[in-house]
């Protein structure tokens, strides 16, 4: 309980991950859904860092760097899409973002 092992980190990241997932599932606001995705990514990062520390392997950190890069890209493009969509539909309600069904 007092000694912190990678196990704890993994549990933390899992919890955070699920929080993110819940956010994605529950919220209607697309922006917030995006933020939840960021949370999920962070959860993953935590896991990677922890394991890289335990395994004394830098690969984990490297991947984190890449994840961050991808996250940045994703945020940029995703938010761009949101702006464009909002400009046309005057809404960010995910329920109304279904023009591509069928």
């Amino acid at each position: 309980m007092l000694e912190i092992t990678p196990l704890h980190y993994s549990l933390l990241s899992a919890a955070l991950f699920m929080i993110g997932v819940i956010g994605v599932l529950v919220r209607r606001n697309v922006i917030i859904i995006f933020m939840s995705i960021e949370l999920i990514l962070n959860a993953v990062n935590i896991n990677l860092i922890a394991l890289s520390d335990q395994l004394q392997d830098l690969a984990g950190q490297v991947f984190v760097v890449f994840v961050i890069a991808v996250a940045a890209a994703e945020a940029a493009v995703g938010l761009g899409i949101i702006i464009a969509f909002y400009r046309n539909k005057e809404t960010v309600n995910i329920d109304e973002i279904q023009i591509m069904r069928w």
Binding site: L11, M18, I19, R28, A59, V64, V70, A71, A72
Partner: protein, 183 residues
């Protein structure tokens, strides 16, 4: 002992902030919670001897991405939050419950698999054996972490690194194209 205290406070704070993020009414608030969340995660990284990543976390996430979110939130001026719309087709808490279930299962798996976690230091040697940077010695990755990371990035991960840069470039252009009213 100190480490444990720090970890637990951090853990509680991170999870709490996470919940705040996904539950805040207004988007602005959740953005703010998100910033704090990221900062705390950065601290967590420092604890795990990943200074460089921690710095990146602060600079890119807290400094860049979140500001981006903030702008978007400002741009998207909603008359009423989407949550106000009654939506009979979907039940919020089914998702929550399911997520919770999954979480429990994972916890169970993790706990079971670890079985009274032995100290990480034991595997230190085998990790160090095939690490490409000999000059840092086989010791823990406390010292010259950034240097080693840079070394690895620019040698064995060079191609993915370049690809990532391309990805960012493309994303930048894409974002501009998307956000611009009319080209």
């Amino acid at each position: 002992m100190a480490e444990a205290i720090v970890f637990w406070t951090l853990a509680v704070l991170i999870l709490g902030l996470g919940i705040m993020v996904i539950s805040a009414r207004s988007a602005v608030h959740s953005v703010l919670f998100l910033v704090v969340n990221f900062l705390l995660v950065a601290v967590l990284y420092v604890m795990l001897n990943a200074e460089f990543v921690a710095v990146i976390q602060v600079l890119v996430y807290a400094g860049g991405i979140v500001v981006l979110y903030l702008f978007v939130v400002m741009l998207v001026s909603l008359k009423k939050a989407p949550e106000r719309y009654a939506d009979p087709r979907r039940v919020a808490w089914t998702g929550t419950l399911l997520a919770g279930a999954v979480l429990l299962e994972v916890v169970a798996i993790v706990v079971a698999s670890s079985g009274g976690g032995e100290p990480a230091a034991t595997e230190g040697a085998l990790g160090a054996a095939d690490t490409p940077f000999a000059e840092c010695g086989a010791g823990p990755l406390v010292s010259c972490n950034t240097e080693q990371l840079g070394w690895v990035l620019y040698t064995s991960y060079l191609i993915p690194f370049e690809v990532a840069s391309m990805l960012l470039l493309v994303a930048m252009i894409g974002a501009i194209v998307l956000a611009k009213r009319h080209l």
